[in-house]
């Protein structure tokens, strides 16, 4: 059962995978190939520093500053780097903007490509066969699972991340968000809205 969110792995000291990974780490450490503390730092980076709040700040700035939005559209890597979000799995960024006519959805059918620098590590569903298989053939059916029903006339554009470009969806700015600060706007930007499986939250429900 690959997609039951690992319930069979919880708190089980005899878990085979836990034992296998621990054995591998022991061997690599004994051989001096890895520094276990480096792994701690890597994990801490994605637990506490690099996550979807980065992307939310990019989107909020694009909503607030048309010049920045234009830069983000032309050269997303540089525009995002200007906010200090750089590095692994964000080396070559593209920002795609939702419009009233077109909704964008990002997938990696071949593996798990995801814009780490702005969204952090991908959720399990993004990396799993149901989403990867369905997003390119039945995106509307996928969106329904996220409680997102788009008008039948809305065009859907699916971006399959088959190369090293990483895609950030810029959702539409919600109605009623006029006058909010960038910080308040960032709170409306969900992770899923930047993948395309959601919309930005309306201010009253934020």
């Amino acid at each position: 059962m690959p997609h039951d969110h690992d319930d069979h792995h919880h708190d089980n000291e005899l878990d085979l995978m836990a034992a296998r990974v621990r054995a591998l780490e022991t061997i690599l450490t004994e051989k001096g190939l890895i520094d276990p503390q480096a792994i701690d730092v890597i994990v801490d980076t994605y637990e506490t520093k690099v996550g979807p709040r980065n992307g939310a700040k990019v989107v909020a700035k694009a909503w607030s500053d048309p010049e920045y939005a234009g830069w983000l559209k032309r050269d997303a890597t540089a525009a995002i780097e200007s906010l200090s979000y750089t590095g692994r799995q964000g080396e070559h960024m593209q920002a795609v903007f939702n419009t009233p006519d077109t909704h964008n959805l990002v997938v990696c059918t071949l593996c798990s490509c995801y814009p780490w620098s702005v969204l952090g590590l991908p959720p399990v569903w993004y990396k799993s066969p149901p989403y990867r298989s369905k997003a390119v053939i039945d995106p509307r059916g996928v969106l329904v699972e996220f409680d997102l029903v788009l008008p039948e006339t809305t065009r859907i554009r699916v971006w399959d991340s088959t190369a090293e470009l990483r895609y950030l969806v810029v959702p539409m700015r919600p109605e009623g968000s006029e006058g909010l600060s960038e910080e308040q706007l960032a709170d409306l930007v969900t992770r899923d809205s930047m993948i395309g499986t959601g919309l930005a939250r309306a201010p009253e429900t934020a």
Binding site: P2, H3, H5, D6, H9, H10, M17, A18, R20, R22, L24, T26, I27, L28, K31, G32, L33, I34, D35, Q37, A38, I39, D40, V41, I42, Y46, G51, G87, R88, Q89, E91, H92, T109, L110, C111, L121, V124, W125, S128, P129, P130, R132, S133, K134, V136, I137, P139, E145, F146, E152, T154, R155, I156, R157, V158, D160, T162, A163, E164, L165
Partner: protein, 219 residues
């Protein structure tokens, strides 16, 4: 390769089932598997394309029965064995028998921040001009290599339109197999759903892939 990773358009996997308030990791071993994959990769003995190929070369039954961090951990073992860092018996016994291949470098804790911030850019200069321009009609190559490729099956032999020229990038089909980076121009190519999926396809849907130049022919 037409392996288990090539999932676009396959059916029968059930609902996406997004988990509410999903934790970043579902078990402590996932943290170690993720970190080890990055740390071992930083030794510099294989590239991201070889890593991906190791993952998609798992037996399909194993691939589909594994969570993604399981896939990473299993592929990491394959890479470490292939490059002489560990012996299969060491994995069986869970201890080191001594030194194997000596690493070019070891990622230390104090260098992690810089290494992650630097990442691994894959853009490269390419001699000559791009063969295609935005608006050009193309047909994707139809081929079924047993080796690594990033042209998914659903997008082979299809008519599409070039939307953007993305610049030169390392060519994974050769780089995954130690045959050099051979950079090519990459393009975003767009296809209508009826072109890809035929009868009954959603006319409001378009799908794009990012395609290396040798995947494309003029149409």
């Amino acid at each position: 390769m037409n392996g288990p990773q090539d999932l676009g358009g396959q059916m029968g996997f059930g609902p996406v089932a997004p988990e509410k308030n999903e934790p970043l990791f579902h078990a402590d071993w996932e943290k170690r598997a993720m970190g080890m994959t990055i740390a071992a990769g930083a030794m510099g003995h294989w590239n991201i394309d070889e890593s991906r190929h190791a993952r998609e070369s798992l037996h399909p039954a194993d691939y589909y029965a594994s969570t993604y961090y399981e896939i990473w951990a299993k592929a990491l073992e394959v890479l470490l064995k292939r490059h002489g860092f560990v012996h299969p018996l060491e994995l069986d016994e869970g201890r080191s028998f001594g030194k194997g291949t000596q690493p070019k470098r070891v990622l230390k804790a104090e260098n992690v921040a810089a290494a992650l911030a630097k990442g691994g850019p894959c853009d490269r200069p390419v001699a000559g001009e791009p063969r295609f321009q935005p608006g050009d009609r193309i047909r994707t190559h139809n081929f079924n290599p047993e080796t690594h490729t990033r042209l998914p099956r659903y997008a082979r032999g299809k008519l599409g339109v070039i939307e953007a020229v993305r610049g030169g990038f390392v060519f994974p089909d050769s780089n995954a197999h130690g045959k050099g980076e051979n950079p090519q121009y990459v393009y975003t190519a767009v296809f209508t759903a009826p072109e890809i999926w035929g009868d009954g396809a959603d006319p409001t849907l378009t799908v794009s892939i990012d395609a290396w130049e040798s995947y494309l022919e003029s149409a």
